[in-house]
Structure formats: structure tokens, C-alpha cells
Amino acid sequence: MTIQFNDETFHGDFTFKNSDWAIKRFPFPFHEDSYMYSVNMEPHKSYRPGSVFEKTFDVDEHYVAEMKDRARVLADDPLRCQSLPHMTLAGWDLVELIMEAKAAEYPDLFELHKDGNRWRWINKPLGIDDTFTFLDESTLPYGPMEYITRQTQGDFAVLDQRDDNLWMDAGMVTTQADWSLDFDIGMNFFEWHAPVPKAHEMGIFVRALKFLLNIQQGQPARRLNWTMTVNPLLDTSPENYHKWGTMKQGLTMENIGEKQHLRVELQTFFRLPRSNALVFPIRCYLIRFEDLVTVPKWGRRLHRVIRDLPEELATYKGFIDNRPLMVEWLSQYDDGSPTSDGIWPDD
């Protein structure tokens, strides 16, 4: 299908809205009625046509508006995009990965024409038609990672692999769930995960790292993560927490359905060919509670998950104060009947 791109905002007047199509394909993250951290990784294989798992890099109706929001955030704070000097080659690997995938999977939106190292890239939704020399930085308006991630939804962390660890040595981070690239850049896998409760003690990070170190080229993996956001705000950064923190106040039974959003991250992992780096795209999907409960199974299940979530997790995810209200509102959509296994709606 051809995608109708929305004209919408993720700040200020918050005109973001999901169409019925976007609601039906939302990546609901709970396959059962409870949630705890786990090493929840699976191959990033094409799955369920039309779903967010079909394409290598999902493009949806929010694409153009999300890219405008990224440009706005970067103009305000250029430190959201950083790359240590040894990461330039990995940036080119990423240019190749994204351009090839998008041109092959969305031929009506993107085109890539190669003449040796002379590449022509056409991005129709954003009105871009650039010709450049692959691996020659001087032929692009930005560094390679910044160039391509200004045109791709989701945050990106690019990890250097050395000493049996991963090092966050580059990134584009404007849609994050409250962590700072500027603070975390240069850290290793255990260091940047340090603030997460319970998962270290459960051995999750040791096992997850082992899995990631062994990811091979052409065999990407994925997982889902989630949190809660009041208003459809993509930029929930610690840098701007003093500006958005107050939005968590003032939720009522009347407005919570519209204001409260479930925020789901589709995280994927790709080995890059020249640099041997790992790239970690973190794609954020938002859905307001009142849209989510139009799928009866999701409403029932979300109520049970939020009600029973361990306190440490609700605190870490930043919604402990609003949890009672969420549970009260969601309970209206839980008739107590059983839910089927898996994340998909019952048709």
C-alpha cells in the first residue's frame, strides 16, 4: 500500500494521531498477562505482512513528521548526535545497510543507484535527491551516520566491539526513554545499563551481551521494550526532563485515555560488515490508551500487567505515581475473561 504521511507534531500542540491502520499494526509488547525482564530476543525475520516486523526498517505514516521532530531537537541540542572519531567507518556501513534495505523494500519511496562508488540516493517522502561518493565524507552534508539517521525513524546507538564488550561510541538519540547519549557515550554494555533495577542480579545482561557479541552479518535480531509517556512526546530526554516532567501531573479519569500513551520500542541488532560494529536501532511507537483499548484483548491484558508490575519497574519507568489512576481507568476494559497467548489481537 502507499502510505499517507501525517501532518502532525510530537511537541507543543501534540497533534500526533494513529490511524486505524497504525492502531491495528501497533507492536503490543505483552504476550501474557504479566511482565518481567527477560532475555527476550528473536531473529529479526520478516513476519506477518503489514506488521512492524515485516520490513528491515519499518516506515509508517509518522515518518515525515518524526524526521521534522528530529531536526527540531537537533537544532536545539546538537549533542544528541555524536560519533567518536574511530566510528566513521561504521557510519558508512549504516548508510549502506539502510539505503539498500529501504530501496529494496520500499521501491516506490526510495531509490538507490550505484555507479561504482558514485551513489545516487532518492528519498521521495523527504524530497531528497543526493549524489555522493561512498566512503568520502566530504561529499555528504553531514557525517554518514547523521546523514542517514536524519532520514530514518528511531534512535540509533552504534557499538564498537572490543575486549569482549560493546562500547557506545556513536549515536543519534532524539526519541529516547529518559537516557542521555552525551552522558553515556564511551560506556560499555554494563556501564550504560547500570541504572536498570533487577536485571543485573537476574543475570540478564551477562547473557544478553554474550548473545550480541555473537550476532553475525546478515542475521539480525530484535526485541521489544516498553514504558509509559504522558502526551505523544518523542523527546523524553533527561536533558529536557525539567520541561516535560510536569506533564506527568494533572492526569484525571476524564483525560487519561487521551493523554497517557504506551510507548513501545522495537529494538533491532545488526552486525556491520566493514567495521564489525553492531548497530542498535531503537524505534519508538506510541499509542494512546483510548486507542489501545479498542482492541479488547490488549485492554484486558494491559490492565493486568500494569496492576501487577513489580514496584521497582514502575518506579524505574517513571509512572509509579500515576499507576493507581492508570489501573482504575484500565479496569473498565477488563471483564476478567481469559486472554489468548501471544501479542496479536483476536480477530
Binding site: I185, G186, M187, A194, P195, Y241, H242, G245, T246, K248
Partner: protein
């Protein structure tokens, strides 16, 4: 004064050891305040040949002359005492550049000094295995404000005021080696004006 015992913390927070005199082609020692005591302790097991190859860079901070004459008398090939880390920084960079293969680096005193000198040493390509650390003295923290990015030195309370933008920040344990700083985040972000009373957590 005894060595500092820190409570268990999260994995980004550095851990420190105990200095020992090691064989090396040179010895670069960077210390502030009570860090002098760690060097004086180490001196008990180091001979004149060791000191001949040593360069001590010392920032007394509040300790005045309490330790400086004792350090000077150790007979280091080079001895320098400076008024602040900033003042000593170009000398520290130069000394790190001059390090040969096999030079041992010793960092001791406050976390702020060790963190900053560690970042310089790593940037200069000194291998981790050639760098030792030992905490002595104040546990005050060097904090980065996540909002304005300004650094506030010698923070002893939680919350504290950012010395640059003035916001009241709470003190996290999350630590960046690159910045040599802990992270400070606005304490009243969700409820402006609701600032809890300061507690002295670090001395």
C-alpha cells in the same frame, strides 16, 4: 586517615584499589589533598632508585602545607605542587605525553582528581594495566548537570544547586568516565518548587 570504604553501588561507578610501588621505567604520581597519605604509605616500600624516576604532581586543596614538605622530601626526580586541578592540567597532559613504555601511573585523592586524570591518561594511550588508583580524603562528588551540562565540583549534599544554571539537582550514582562526573537531574522537575531538604551525604 583510613582508606575509604564505599557502599555497594551500580556498575557504572568506578572502584578504587590500593597503591603499591611497582617496577617501571618511570613513575608518574598525581594526587590531591589526603591523597598525599597514600603516596607516603607507598614510600615505606620504595627505595631511592624508585624516587629518582618519579614525578609527583600534587594539589594540596584544603590541606595547605600539611603534607607538601613530606612529599617534597621523598626525593622525587620532579616535584610540583599546584593551586588547582585546572592550573595543573597542562602539566599533567605534558607529563602523560612524556611517559615511556613501562611508566607506571599512580592516581590518588578525591574521585574528581582521579576521574579527570584517568580520562587524560586513557586519552594519552596509557594502558589500564599501568594505572593504579586509591581513594583518600573527601567523598565529595564532581557532578554534571544533565540539563545545562555544567560541572559542579565538591558536591557534598543531595540535592544541590547547579553552580551554572542554578537548578536544584538530585545526585545520581550513574557515572561517566569520559566526563569524570556523576549525573545531576532536576529534583523538582515534576513538581516545580517542591525541593526536599538538603542532606549531607558526602564529606
Amino acid at each position: 586517615m583510613s582508606k575509604t570504604v564505599f557502599p555497594p553501588s551500580i556498575k557504572s561507578r568506578p572502584v578504587y584499589g590500593e597503591l603499591e610501588a611497582r617496577a617501571g621505567s618511570g613513575h608518574l604520581m598525581i594526587a590531591d589533598a589526603e591523597g598525599a597519605e597514600a603516596i607516603l604509605d607507598l614510600a615505606k616500600s620504595a627505595d631511592a632508585a624508585f624516587w629518582a624516576k618519579a614525578h609527583i604532581i600534587y594539589i594540596p586543596k584544603g590541606t595547605g602545607t600539611k603534607y607538601s614538605s613530606q612529599l617534597e622530601e621523598l626525593g622525587a626526580g620532579q616535584y610540583y605542587a599546584g593551586p588547582s586541578y585546572e592550573a595543573a592540567q597542562s602539566r599533567i597532559r605534558r607529563a602523560l605525553l612524556d611517559c615511556h613504555m613501562g611508566t607506571q601511573v599512580y592516581l590518588t585523592g578525591t574521585e574528581s582528581l582521579m576521574g579527570q586524570a584517568m580520562a587524560e591518561a586513557t586519552a594519552a594511550g596509557i594502558p589500564h594495566t599501568a594505572i593504579q588508583t586509591e581513594h583518600r580524603g573527601s567523598t565529595a562528588r564532581r557532578m554534571q548537570c544533565v540539563h545545562c551540562k555544567g560541572i559542579t565540583e565538591d558536591v557534598t549534599t543531595d540535592p544541590f544547586e547547579c553552580s551554572h544554571c542554578g537548578l536544584s539537582l538530585f545526585v545520581r550514582d550513574h557515572y561517566s568516565r569520559r566526563l569524570a562526573a556523576f549525573q545531576g537531574v532536576r529534583v523538582d522537575a515534576e513538581d516545580p518548587g517542591n525541593i526536599p531538604e538538603k542532606v549531607e551525604l558526602f564529606k
